[in-house]
């Protein structure tokens, strides 16, 4: 592969030194866009994503694996899927997840009494989602954190996190005996040695 070198002159011409032509060129572009977007029906060829305007869904513009604001998934009965195993709060490099566990008094046994995420501290790394053994926490809301007026508004509790959530299709507690049919093929490094 050859490397080509292009020599660029840094000498300013008289036209550059006056500045006015360049300014006028810029204003012309702005004016062209202004008139086109204002008077053409259907907003013309506008390239800006307009947050908050009706009919515009920001989520359409984000890739599928975009990591946005956290949400907590639900069980079939609508209760929280999380079992307060603290894997996410342990792995969190920003230490922005605070969980307190309680007894659920049913077969699921354990649930979070409080589940708090400080979105201001969050570094959006997605480790919490990776660590979760229950598909309880997700970052697939495609909603990024919007600045708030107070810090307290950026601290999300269980109710706010669950309001973004929905029922997960994953089977609570794993697939059980039928995992062979349903699970993807296991990593050959961990399969049992043939005898």
């Amino acid at each position: 592969m050859t490397i080509s070198v292009k020599k660029v002159s840094l000498q300013r011409t008289t036209r550059d030194q006056i500045f006015l032509p360049a300014i006028l060129e810029g204003l012309l572009t702005t004016a062209r866009h202004f008139f086109k977007n204002t008077f053409t029906p259907g907003h013309g060829d506008v390239e800006t994503i307009r947050y908050g305007e009706p009919g515009v869904d920001v989520k359409d513009y984000y890739p599928e694996r975009f990591r946005g604001v956290h949400r907590l998934m639900h069980r079939e009965d609508g209760s929280v899927r999380c079992v307060a195993c603290m894997c996410c709060s342990t792995v969190c490099p920003a230490r922005c997840i605070y969980i307190e566990a309680e007894d659920r008094r049913d077969d699921a046994e354990k649930a979070p009494r409080s589940f708090v995420i400080d979105e201001l501290k969050c570094v959006v790394c997605g480790f919490c989602v990776e660590a979760c053994p229950c598909d309880a926490i997700r970052m697939d809301t495609r909603e990024h954190w919007i600045p708030t007026e107070t810090r307290a508004e950026a601290v999300l509790g269980k109710v706010e996190l669950m309001s973004r959530g929905e029922q997960s299709v994953a089977v609570q507690g794993g697939l059980g005996a039928s995992y062979r049919e349903q699970a993807p093929k296991a990593d050959p490094r961990f399969t049992h040695d043939p005898r």
Binding site: C85, A101, D107, G173, G176, H192
Partner: protein
Amino acid sequence: MSNHDSRSTSSTIPPTPGTLPPPSVAPAPRVGMDPRPHAPEGWAPPVAPNRPAEPTEGQETVTLTIDGKEVTVAKGTNVLEASGLLGEEVCHFCYHQGLSIAASCRQCLVEIEKMGKLQPSCQVPVAEGMVVHTSSPTVLKARREMLEFTLKNHPIDCPICDKAGECTLQRHYMAHDHQLTRVDVPKIRKPKHKDIGREIVLDAERCILCSRCVRFCEEIPGTAELTMSWRGDHEQIDIADGHRLDNAYSINTVDICPVGALTAKDFRFAIRAWELHATPTTCNGCATGCAVELHTKHEQAYRVVPRFDPAVNGHWMCDEGRYTYKELDPQARVHRAEVDGATVPLADAIATVATRLTKARKLAVVFSSSATNEANDALRELAEVLATSVKGREGITATRYVLGHPRGEGDAILRDADKNPNTNGAHDAAAGSAGDVDKHEAELALELAGRAYDAVLFLDDSGELSEVALAGLANITSVCLASRRTPLSSACSIVLPAASWAEILGTYTNRQGLLRVVQPAWRPEHDRKHRADLLRDLMLAMGLRNVATAKERTRLLADEHEHAELQALVTDPKAMRPTLLRWANMRG
């Protein structure tokens, strides 16, 4: 009635008459009450029935070869202990140094030459010239397949299991097995979260049937509440009909459970084990002074677990002692000095106390049997200082009392009826020179209520005084070195913030006369200080020089008792750093 009840009543030993010399000035003692605690006659620490491999002097030894290395061990020990001496612990579930041998888990199988089959190393006594292979391919294969059987019906509900992070099954799985399950039939379901006792919850599914808990209940408290029921795949741990696992040592079963089958109600879902820091310290629940670990996070204590000490408690501790951490409740802590209800800087409070104490005409100092030796010694020094006349001030002899928690229940295993960790040390300090020693607390209460004193100094916040006495304290100069809000510390007119036993390096003298060490789990917050250092500040404020600090007193005690561990702690503060349990996954 249950076996447990009959035993607990018969085994409660009445306080024995003292073998130690009585206090120098002996007041009329309470009837049947000896202030100084002693171990019951013929008592011995509940140490391991299994002989440790390390040979002691004069013991017969046996030499054998383990994995090509020759090792000389004590005669009578087993192969598992012997290989442990080489630093290669054979993985096991059912074997426990402090219990009889069941050899039921078959996890510790090893290959021994000239023996046809693989042998459970916990059950085979060492013999001269034995050649053992602990990690040959056959052994590793057997170990791995045993683990597969063990995991067959295990629910693998680690996310909701309290043992996760300190679980022996997890550890061995990661070390040996590490494979996906090959079982495609439904697992056998057993009772989950079953309430089996005052302190314990049973999850029969998680149980791997090692029978450690069954053997513990038979051998240590001798109550035998637990048993195995059903057979084969359906075998499970259970309690007999009408019985509950309610003995005084029941939470030990949680510690020795290699999985999360038995969990403690108190610790249930409180915190994950890997978040905790462990500090080796001493239980301050009674005069026995068991070696314990205090598990903490962010200046808050979560549980107390026993630490092996062959001289005092073996592997065990009582349930009562596990609740001593409740005293460290962050809500009740005293952080700042208070004079007549107003929060003041510590230096100002000390100056006020110095002025008022020197002006007092009738003074009482109250030693505490729940404070450390260092604090009691500093109070003795202060009383001596006050008793000497200096220019411009006549010395006053302070009346000395010893106050502590009221007596409770004791037994012949570990619990002592004296619920104070340092009764011996407090009495030694209080008897150092002339003065009334060990008056009945009620007598003190009456005298205080009757305004017998115009100044009282309490070394600690524990101790129960009557309401009349507490009311009397408000009108006189009453100083309390308090680490938490108690009726006593709230009644006193001056409160100095003292560090609790979880924040200081100090010593207790237990009922055997042994020096027991408490270590700091975290630094004292705000104005809180070691009691000996508070009293030192007070003596400095009185114009004294060269008063020993708490650390210097500890150093003196360590040298006096030739306590190597304590000497190391005093010289190297880094030795006191708590261990994060995440990196010490060796419990259970």
